[in-house]
Symmetry: C2
Subunit: 329 residues, 2 copies
DNA sequence: TATACTCGGGCGCGGCCGGTT
DNA sequence: AAACCGGCCGCGCCCGAGTAT
């Protein structure tokens, strides 16, 4: 900043004024300062800025690196946030880097608020963090004071899937559940609701599986080996459903001729590949936008006093080629 | 830190000493300070730390959010870097957030070095950045002074693919190229080399395509409509190859019975789904580790004087179910 | 002399002051 | 009155120089 001031022939204080877009500089000077800064490749020191400006305005995000859906949400958050007012700090998790580490990085950077994606932390842990700074959870409902959340209508989504299958004529339906994941309990409840509403309680059932291709594959193998293959399977998510399809095909079971399969997320792989999977769609951009608005409200003046809000975004069903009427026996 | 000092009954400076693991504190005091810090939920302010400690030791990374391969590399970098000595700052790019923005964030955080993944910036731009701080490029060779790079053996990878196809009996091979992407030119050269070496120059050719499913699909449609379908297609990457397979199947062309397809990256989708794609494998962990070592060398004492290094990591071929001998006509 | 601890200055910036053109 | 200057403080921490056992 000193260098820019010297090069532009003005005082450092004026450069500061220009960069902050504060009053007290002529348009001509503004342009001159910006120009010299550009030619010097100068960028304000974000650390010093954050350190000095007492209000902590940056927004931290934790997300899982290997989850494309979460990547889409993160991209959406960047688009929805006013970056000039709220710099974003990302802190990814992975197989070997857990959420606590990721959060601790955000706290070390003194973020003014954090957005957690599909957090698997217990509600009371999130609540403890929310004592210090606003927490907005995406794709995970949190029943805690002061923790906001934005999630898809998981219940309704599974219901769309079941209704679609019932309409096609299916009654023998299996839902592959994963209650350990964010949204898992809601999806399971949604399945039970839908099954009751459709009056197929005796022929439909849920079994535990998981959120990966391997989990879907293993669950399918168990169904095959037990000789209890249904006419339709609803996967916990697209990855799980992919494992189902893969395994069925390998065992010579045709999809959708013999077994229909529905996924959840409507991720790119469901849409693009030769899979053409019928899937429950949740809108990452809508989730991101809602969370961004909420978090900007929180870091704004008086935002700390707002009661915790839960925002539900609708889901829809994308019908493709892995669902069809059951074979008549 | 003041609060911790007060609570522990010591001076702030001593707390600093303890947290830095520097000499000058008794084991008893150390434990007491850590204990009170833990009970207060205190984490050092990363911004102030970086501001004061003149040596800029943090490592910035830019990567593309919607590229799973890059996500794997980022996870690998976290594992390979000594995080206590070198905090990592991530700065993702997306459809709407370009590399320059991402880099500017890293510069604003005064990173001591940056790792760029599959950068599409021109070499002279990277060189200009490298005037100010060490730059290590992953999955993109850079011919510039002071810019290190770590990349897979793209040439050799394509050659593995072509040799595999030739061994199966293919002569009529098309390579779908994308010279606009990192590694693109090398892969194209590798294709030409391999074709020459195999003596199939008259029947093999490269055509422009792209790096997405749509690009692969469009190129395939052009081949189909021109009536010039080869017996084997090598995609620029897995996503491109996926588009190829998808389009072939929809047009009633069986894979691999009528046309063999090879991808590049050996990403999760190639391995897991019902695709079972033969693909050239590059090792994200090896790339990450090499880059991490290089960057830690650079930020270390005397690291600035090292000449630029290019490190090539070997590729391999993962043979699955999308390649087979050509149909005898 | 060594070990344990304290003190004070300053990193780059923001924000406020009185003063000058 | 608007545009600008110079200076000072302090955000939270690091660190060299100092003090006390």
């Amino acid at each position: 900043m000193r260098d820019v001031a010297r090069a532009a022939g003005v005082s450092p204080a004026l450069v500061s004024i220009v960069f902050r877009e504060a009053a007290g500089a002529s348009p001509r000077t503004r342009e001159k300062v910006f120009a010299t800064a550009r030619s010097l490749g100068y960028v304000r020191d974000e650390r010093a800025r954050g350190l000095r400006s007492l209000q902590r305005d940056s927004i931290g995000i934790t997300f899982r690196l290997d989850q494309p859906f979460q990547a889409a949400v993160v991209a959406g958050v960047y688009d929805a946030v006013n970056l000039a007012a709220h710099p974003i700090v990302t802190s990814p998790t992975s197989e070997t880097r857990d959420e606590e580490e990721a959060l601790s990085d955000l706290i070390a950077n003194r973020c003014g608020a954090v957005i957690v994606l599909s957090s698997r932390l217990p509600a009371d842990r999130l609540a403890r963090i929310a004592d210090d700074l606003p927490v907005v959870s995406i794709a995970r409902t949190v029943d805690a004071p002061r923790v906001d959340w934005v999630a898809s209508d998981e219940r309704g989504g599974i219901r769309l899937a079941v209704d679609h299958l019932v309409e096609l004529g299916h009654r023998d339906i299996v839902y592959l559940s994963d209650t350990g994941s964010a949204g898992g309990p809601e999806r399971l409840e949604g399945f039970h609701d839908a099954v009751l509403a459709a009056g197929i309680r005796d022929s439909a059932r849920a079994v535990g599986a998981g959120r990966t291709e391997d989990a879907g594959s293993a669950a399918t193998l168990r169904l095959l080996d037990a000789g209890r293959l249904p006419t339709a399977i609803v996967g916990f998510n697209d990855r799980c459903a992919l494992g189902v399809i893969d395994t069925l095909i390998r065992r010579g079971v045709r999809v959708p001729d013999e077994v229909s399969v529905v996924g959840f997320d409507d991720s790119e792989v469901a849409a693009r590949s030769m899979i053409r999977m019928t899937s429950v769609r949740q809108d990452p951009i809508a989730l991101a936008r809602a969370a961004a608005e909420r978090v900007m409200l929180r870091v704004g003046p008086g935002g700390g006093d707002l009661p915790a809000a839960g925002i539900v975004k609708p889901t829809s069903l994308t019908v493709r080629s892995t669902t069809a009427p059951p074979r008549v026996r």
